[in-house]
């Protein structure tokens, strides 16, 4: 890979990093607005979380991707009708959203350190 290609990839990563807070915020809002039986909102939440799971890993945010993946699994189970948002075992939907926000904070802090920002 040439230096120019590496810089192009890095530039994409920077742009993605800038947008991350808005993506996680959208997921938090979608989760908070869920109403019982509203399958459309559930599908919309699943779509947002699924995208974050895949893209965060590709851009190197493995912790964030793992947190998104855990949330995605719960939402997927809810869509399939095999679990609710507060399962008897394991974290609830709200817990997983909190974990996602925590991973975002870690990812953002790590990116600032890489750039040498205070």
């Amino acid at each position: 890979m040439t230096a120019g290609q590496r810089e192009r990839l890095e530039s994409l990563r920077r742009a993605y990093t800038r947008d991350l807070p808005a993506r996680v915020r959208a997921i938090g809002e979608a989760a908070a607005s869920l109403e019982p039986g509203d399958r459309e909102k559930l599908q919309s939440l699943h779509h947002l979380v699924h995208r974050l799971t895949g893209s965060a890993a590709i851009y190197g945010f493995t912790g964030l991707s793992r947190a998104a993946s855990a949330l995605e699994a719960l939402v997927y189970s809810a869509l399939a009708g095999t679990a609710g948002f507060e399962p008897e075992r394991g974290p609830s939907l709200a817990d997983l959203v909190v974990a996602l926000k925590s991973e975002l904070a870690a990812a953002t802090a790590s990116s600032k350190q890489e750039k040498g920002d205070p």
Partner: protein
């Protein structure tokens, strides 16, 4: 007799963040000619015109998913012989086995390495029974 090298790839992926990295990986880094489609329906229209050597198809997409798209592609006589490689974040072994049983050339799991994505596709392309 040497085989035709892999040249044209149709990338079917709904997420713009993944599209842009995969496209860079395949075209700028990998030297392939790439057309990007954001949905299965778009791909079904574009593929006969673009005539790809290979289709890289995301499994989980809103609307028509990758599996339904694969089945539709295989029903089109113009595309039935075009190899399809699935791309998925859900890479449990039974799912990978299912994608292979459907007749795909292979499965690439997300996250992929941008540096080696094109080489991985070339390896699958070379492994075809022709």
């Amino acid at each position: 007799m040497s085989r035709k090298p892999l040249s044209r790839v149709l990338l079917v992926e709904d997420d713009p963040d993944v599209q842009v990295v995969a496209s860079l990986a395949l075209s700028e880094i990998g030297g392939l000619v790439v057309e990007v489609c954001g949905s299965a329906l778009e791909a079904l229209k574009a593929a006969p015109v673009f005539q790809p050597d290979l289709i890289l198809l995301d499994v989980m997409m809103p609307g028509m998913d990758g599996i339904a798209a694969f089945e539709a592609l295989k029903k089109d006589p113009r595309l039935a012989a075009t190899p399809v490689v699935f791309m998925t974040a859900r890479a449990q072994s039974h799912e990978v086995a299912r994608y292979r049983e459907l007749g795909s050339l292979g499965v690439i799991t997300k996250p992929f390495e941008p540096e080696s994505l094109a080489e991985t596709l070339r390896g699958l392309w070379e492994s075809r029974d022709v």
